[in-house]
């Protein structure tokens, strides 16, 4: 222990400290039963949608591939339960649009047993074969971005990776799924880390955990493998500590170039939950059929972390976790800082959903009653932006529709929409929301 614990905390510059609200951290992960109908959008990941390989009326068993990957940047889908394919049709997605979805009517006798697997000897695989095996699991980054895991772990030939950074920060308030997985799936996690290290050719791995989870740090430290290749480090509890570039800076002191990837400084970052699940799925030769989701918020009676079968509709999850009787509410997929509100209870849990957060009437009214002022140039956003941007200036330019200037002079492209600026703004200006729109407009202009 250092004499000056604060000065030695590993961290990055700026950022914010929202209330953590992680009340579910102490409760073990529970299982959620199957919904009568499961809805599996073909595009649950970034990249090309999967292509169905089952037909309507066909019986499927839990774990069976039902859609194949379309090219490299795509992943297959697996049936999360025993049942029959009822339809392949358009259904509402979390984004609000309707997307091609495989609907499975679940047999009442469906069990948790995975009936479709091909156990394999992981030690015999080459890095290339490991990547292929990862793609076959259908795994995507479970922190929220849903980027295909095998693509994330694919390193261009000219790059040499020295460190795998395992992201166990879970800096979003309310969420505890990574925390629970680190505690309960520790061996799986170590296994997953080893596979990922071999895939990227890294000599060592560092697990970065925010210091509001000392139990996880201690738990992992006590079980670290003897060869010393894997270490664990506590980092300051500060949002957005779990952003790739911030975590690489905190742990290794390396600055990922603007507009670049961690690859460029010899680092690959992966979410701890993703690696834990990979460590479980890869040797068993199974596909991804379920994930851990934090169901919490003021509008939930039985908050906790749950193993939720993919495709379970929001309605079923909320019924199970006790959200009945609340008529006016906001349902957020992910954490409160970057999560997305959903417009329909028929939206299913997909691979990238880390949390389901329910705010009730009181929270909504408190926010809606707040007045919006012009920018008073207090500079709070400048002091909060982890990317070193000037949100105050960007906001004024957005107000004047100077989108090109925002991109060319004020580094709009470096904004990763963490929301710190909006979080601190005393004038209640929807800064990051404006930036999202501006980025969309610039993308459209570039494409035109």
């Amino acid at each position: 222990m250092s004499l000056f614990p604060f000065s030695t905390r590993k961290t990055f510059a700026r950022g914010v400290h929202p209330a953590s609200n992680k009340s579910t951290a102490g409760t073990p992960i529970r299982r959620m039963p199957f919904a009568p109908r499961i809805l599996l959008p073909l595009a649950q990941h970034i990249g090309k949608p999967a292509v169905p390989i089952v037909s309507v009326g066909q019986e499927v068993v839990r774990g069976q591939p039902i859609a194949r990957a379309e090219g490299f940047l795509s992943v297959p889908l697996h049936a999360p339960a025993d049942g029959v394919v009822e339809a392949i049709e358009l259904r509402p997605s979390a984004k609000g649009n309707w997307v091609e979805t495989i609907v499975i009517r679940v047999y009442e006798a469906s069990t948790q047993e995975v009936r479709w697997s091909e156990p394999r000897d992981m030690d015999a695989l080459s890095p290339q074969e490991i990547l292929q095996a990862i793609q076959d699991t259908g795994m995507v980054g479970m922190g929220g971005a849903a980027f295909p895991s095998h693509a994330k772990l694919t390193v261009p030939k000219e790059r040499k990776i020295h460190t795998l950074v395992v992201n166990g920060c879970e800096c979003e308030p309310f969420l505890t799924c990574d925390h629970r997985m680190m505690l309960e799936l520790t061996d799986d996690m170590f296994r997953g880390i080893r596979y990922a290290m071999r895939a990227v050719g890294a000599e060592r791995a560092i697990i970065g955990i925010e210091d509001n989870k000392p139990d996880a740090v201690e738990h992992i430290r006590a079980r670290l493998p003897a060869d010393g290749a894997i270490t664990v480090e506590a980092v300051e509890t500060k949002y957005p500590q779990g952003a790739e570039k911030m975590l690489v800076q905190s742990l290794l002191g390396l600055k990922v170039p603007a507009g670049g990837l961690p690859l460029e400084v010899g680092v690959v970052v992966n979410n701890v939950g993703t690696l834990a699940l990979l460590g479980r799925l890869l040797p068993a030769g199974e596909g991804m059929t379920e994930r851990v989701v934090t169901v919490t918020g003021p509008g939930i009676k039985k908050p906790g972390d749950y193993w939720v079968p993919l495709g379970t509709p929001m309605r079923t999850v909320l019924d199970w976790a006790g959200a009945e009787g609340v008529s006016e509410r906001e349902i957020i997929l992910g954490g409160p800082m970057m999560g997305q509100a959903v417009a329909s209870l028929d939206v299913p849990v997909t691979k990238g959903v880390s949390g389901i957060l329910v705010f009730d009437k009181l929270n909504i009214q408190a926010d809606a009653s707040r007045k919006t002022y012009p920018c008073i140039k207090c500079g709070e956003c400048v002091n909060a932006c982890p990317m070193g941007l000037n949100p105050s200036m960007l906001g004024m330019l957005a107000g004047g529709r100077e989108y090109d200037l925002m991109g060319s002079q004020y580094h709009l492209g470096d904004c990763f929409e963490c929301g710190c600026c909006t979080y601190v703004c005393p004038s209640n200006i929807p800064l990051v929301q404006q930036f999202r729109i501006a980025k969309g407009i610039l993308r459209d202009r570039a494409a035109a």
Partner: protein, 349 residues
């Protein structure tokens, strides 16, 4: 069962906010100014009280009037007009005729704020616009000083307080001499400039030095500023930069000629520098937003203040120094944009 068609709120992230609002920041500035205002009432009595109330009310009513004229929602609840009024009153001499105070308050809000589009849009500190106007318009009254701790200050007004509009204010020299023995009617700054008399530091700290209503106790101003800075409602870097730059400049001059130039402590404590550095230069709307810009802005104000005091025709320079800093703030921002995380070195073409 969940109701079939619940009302689902749709918003974009972030879904939580810190909860520090404009109203809360401004209200805290008002609270921090109150002890200073009370101390000035304690020192100068009824006249100071009347001046503070008159100027603040004028600012509030003017803001309300412009809300009406512009068919806008009321903007009084943000407290910013109240701050302008309090600050403006505290920079005026306690003997300042009330009607002139009303003019100052109206100009502050009308020309200093409403003309630019209200809160956040003003280029200059509104209180200082008001003061600059009356400094030019009523040159005598703004440099007529009344003694502190006059014995009858809670039972009688200073004779000039109720001057009728457009009438010449009464000469208060006789009244002042009668009220307090040995009162010269000159500020420490003027006495230094014209008599090379160095007022001792304890006079500034006790409030015994002749000054504007709210400029007499450096310690109280610092304490109130420290409260705001500690609660993060004020950027501490600005007063540190202003006072630091002023002190360093003064030190350089003192080393050059100790007979002629006062010590840095005198420069920091005298006149309006402390009030200006803590409460006026820190006005959010008129100061830079970038971290480096804030230091440069503060330093410019500190240096210019000393330069005006030493070489200008006026005895006091804080007001013009801050107005100059306000004018430069957008330019400073322009040249001190923060460095983007992981910015690549510019490739020469």
């Amino acid at each position: 069962m969940v109701a079939k068609q619940p009302h689902l709120e749709l918003r974009t992230s972030p879904h939580v906010k810190r909860g520090v609002t404009v109203e809360r920041i401004m209200l805290n500035v008002v609270l921090a100014l109150l002890p200073i205002a009370l101390f000035s009432v304690w020192q100068y009595g009824l006249s100071a009280l009347a001046l503070i109330v008159a100027v603040t009310l004028t600012c509030i009513l003017t803001e309300r009037m412009f809300n009406r004229l512009g068919s806008q929602a009321g903007s009084l609840s943000d407290w910013s007009a109240t701050i302008t009024g309090l600050l403006l009153a505290l920079t005026l001499p306690p003997s300042f005729p009330l009607w002139m105070g009303v003019v100052a308050g109206f100009i502050a809000i009308a020309l200093g704020k409403a003309l630019f589009g209200g809160i956040g849009s003003n280029v200059f500190n509104p209180a200082l616009i008001g003061r600059a106007f009356v400094q030019a318009a009523f040159a005598v009254s703004i440099s007529t000083w009344a003694p502190a701790y006059a014995p009858h200050r809670f039972s009688e007004f200073i004779p000039t307080t109720f001057t009728m509009p457009f009438m010449t204010p009464a000469d208060i020299a006789d009244w002042a001499k009668h009220a307090l023995d040995g009162f010269t009617g000159a500020t420490p700054m003027a006495r230094w400039k014209f008599e090379t008399y160095f007022t001792p530091a304890q006079d500034f700290l006790s409030g015994a030095a002749t000054a504007s209503a709210g400029e007499t106790s450096a310690i109280l101003i610092l304490l109130c500023g420290a409260y705001l800075a500690a609660r993060k409602f004020m950027d501490w870097r600005i007063p540190v930069a202003v006072l630091g730059a002023a002190a360093l400049t003064a030190l350089a001059f003192q080393i050059y000629n100790p007979e002629r130039y006062p010590d840095p402590l005198f420069v920091m404590l005298s006149g309006g520098l402390m009030l200006g550095a803590v409460f006026m230069a820190t006005d959010m709307a008129t100061s830079p937003v970038t971290p480096r810009g804030v230091w440069i802005y503060g330093a410019i104000i500190g240096v210019v203040t000393v330069m005006i005091r030493y070489f200008g025709g006026l005895t006091e320079g804080v007001m013009y120094a801050i107005l100059l800093g306000n004018a430069l703030a957008p330019l400073i921002d322009q040249y001190t944009q923060p460095k983007v995380f992981g910015e690549r070195a510019k490739v020469k073409k």
